[in-house]
Symmetry: C2
Subunit: 201 residues, 2 copies
Amino acid sequence: MPAARPTRIQQKNRAAILDAALDVFSAQGFRGATVDQIASAAGLSKPNLLYYFPSKEAMHGALLTELMDNWLSPLRDLNPDGDPMQEIMGYVHRKLQMSRDFPRESRLFANEIVQGAPRIHAALSMDLKNLVDDKTAVIQSWITAGKIASVHPYHLLFSIWSLTQHYADFDVQIRAVLGDEDPFEGAPDFVDTLYRRLLTP
Amino acid sequence: MPAARPTRIQQKNRAAILDAALDVFSAQGFRGATVDQIASAAGLSKPNLLYYFPSKEAMHGALLTELMDNWLSPLRDLNPDGDPMQEIMGYVHRKLQMSRDFPRESRLFANEIVQGAPRIHAALSMDLKNLVDDKTAVIQSWITAGKIASVHPYHLLFSIWSLTQHYADFDVQIRAVLGDEDPFEGAPDFVDTLYRRLLTP
DNA sequence: GTCTATAGCCTGATAGAC
DNA sequence: GTCTATCAGGCTATAGAC
């Protein structure tokens, strides 16, 4: 018997569950989240939720793998044939926008990585490493060609990740410091200035 | 009856417990850590550990408050009367060193803040905010005096925090990408270049 | 597909002997 | 001060009716 195609209800429930799971996992971490919290956030009973996903671990894993691709797509889109400065600035701004628009995703990964990335270590040292090796080579070629100033390409990427994701991951701290001011008001200007001054040859 | 002064054994055990708790909390977060893990890491039985601290929560709280002061001391030391560029670069390098030498402390705070800082929210919006308001005013005065280039002082601090602490908090990711290379080999040069180019008038 | 009820495990904390 | 034994509550996951 062939595997049945998911019905509309199944698809809708599965999506609602993953959205609720993202809410809870990103706010509490894997261990801090409970299946009950996810179930009520999704508007389902706990056993019903476990009808769609065999375990709490399965939900978490599905989220991580489903989101990993989207998370890395801005870097994947860095175009070796584009204008170097424009490509890097575009990457920076797209990452900052993702921090603003998808803070839950950022915190999901932050939770996982701060605690040693037990569930995505393979993806980091394979997929991520390969992608980064590829793109740092591009950046290095731009440096060699004199299109941008000389910096360590890996640390350049680390700095972009840390700075942009900081606005999502450390959101409460930033808001505690800024008070009423919206963090994302001054951020685009700041990162723009920073990377232009760093990279202008 | 006056409170008895702690004996040497008490002091030694208390210190061993806090060190073990820092190990476990920083690696697993509050919810992920178990009292059993902390106890065996400290070489004590679980009830004995709970003889020194009334609860798991108490250990966590003791760590956070004890470490908060040390964590903020580099910023507190920013000297309004020193040479502006030298003061800021000194702050950057000291923060980077702390990331290298005290990664557990960095991850303890990262865990707490990513999950909404439920236990240190007051400290963030009081102590931290006051300190930051104070120091950003100093930085702004340096900008007005033309000693450093014009940047948003708050976002400048955010960038320093995020970039330096990234090397501790996202250590596994960085090592997965870099392979054998030591992250802290290229980091000091990179951050030095970055902030000099950003801040040179 | 969805529920109520519950099994079975883990964990924080306590009792009480030494 | 330190231990063994254990309680009580919360948690993941399953059983089984509908």
